[in-house]
Amino acid sequence: MTAAFLGMLQRLGRWGLSALERLGRGTVFFVYVIGGFPEILRRGRLIVAQIYAVGALSLVIIVVSGIFVGMVLGLQGYNTLVDFGASESLGELVALSLVRELGPVVTALLYAGRAGSALTAEIGLMKTTEQLSAMEMMAVDPLHRVIAPRLLAGIISMPLLAAIFSILGVYGGHFVGVTLLGVDDGAYWSQMQATVDWYDDILNGVIKSFVFGIVVTWIALFEGYDTAPTSEGISRATTRTVVNSSLAVLGLDFVLTALMFNK
């Protein structure tokens, strides 16, 4: 009985220690990669290629989902607001939900699925096929040459993607609310401008997506770098990237919201 209990405690302890150890390795990895930024900033070409891979190629899914999320918000918001005779507030509802929450969060989740998983698989395969070790043999630091431009590209791309998502959502909501359902065009924009604050809402939304960009790209790159060098290891690492970064985004979103919007 006591032995079984102690065994359980031991397993829990082992799990806790390994989780902490991974976190520590991840942090060291992150700090080291950040140290490569000054060097990589002088070689803009590397960053441009990565912005293409993680940002520009994610545009299609961001554009499509932005428009559709905005249209659904317009439809659902209208159906709810019209019961209270407040359908003029539709613009306010659509813009605030997009700029504060849906823009940064949904973009980060889509980014984790579209670009994060690709980053993990790419880095994981580089490690498995010992390309990273080969670089070290040639005295090229893979963390600075391969990882740093990808992290920087993710940090640059995410706020841009979130902004594109939000503005397209606002126009999607405008299309459904104003063009299809007949909400007054002037009321849609003026209610929006009267309530959305540049500093409180827009800037905080950008800060959120900036933080998500760091966290998701960091998790994706670290999972790839830390993968077990087998095909099964890569598959597990890719799954962990999507699951962990989605959970991190949702958890962080709560913390950031509590810090930013507590009135």
């Binding site: 441009v48 293409y52 520009a56 902004a163 397209l168 606002v170 401008q193 009267a194 827009i202």
Partner: protein, 157 residues
């Protein structure tokens, strides 16, 4: 060569679209264009009750927005709310006997301050105070008063 050129063009287009989206969010969706009108002058008004008035609530004259509420403070000596109104520089001819009322846009809409011009030849200077005020209409009070009057009316009969 051409491949890296198309790649750079696509990235340029992406960054441009992203910055454009940020700019549009700032200009079209938020109130950044309002903040641009910061050169104005401030006048004060004291109310017994400001209801749901907030900082940045509009100040209107004849229904046209001429400024906004820039600060709300509580005056501990008179137990009244001291509201600072920032009026656009263009509207500098507001008579000293102008009255300020707190209205609600629609039944449940946001509250705003409505100014009604008086007939005085003297105009309010920056830092001046509007003395003719009427307070926010608190819906509960109106309903309570209505019920009270109704009951009193029934007693008389």
């Amino acid at each position: 060569m051409t491949e890296s050129r198309t790649l750079e063009i696509v990235v340029g287009g992406f960054i441009f679209a992203g910055l454009l989206a940020l700019l549009m969010l700032s200009m079209k969706v938020s109130n950044l264009t309002d903040i641009g009108g910061t050169d104005g002058y401030e006048i004060k008004a004291k109310f017994d009750n400001i209801g749901g008035l907030k900082v940045r609530s509009p100040v209107k004259m004849a229904g046209v927005k001429i400024g906004q509420v820039s600060a709300i403070d509580f005056d501990p000596t008179s137990y009244r709310a001291e509201v600072t109104l920032k009026i656009d520089r263009r509207y500098d001819k507001i008579p000293t006997d102008t009255s300020a009322k707190i209205f609600t846009a629609g039944l449940l809409g946001e509250q705003y301050i409505s100014l009604e011009a008086g007939g005085d030849d003297h105009y309010l200077k920056p830092g001046g105070e509007i003395t003719l005020v009427s307070n926010a209409v608190v819906l509960e009070q109106v309903i309570g008063q209505f019920l009270y009057n109704k009951a009193a009316g029934n007693d008389k009969k």
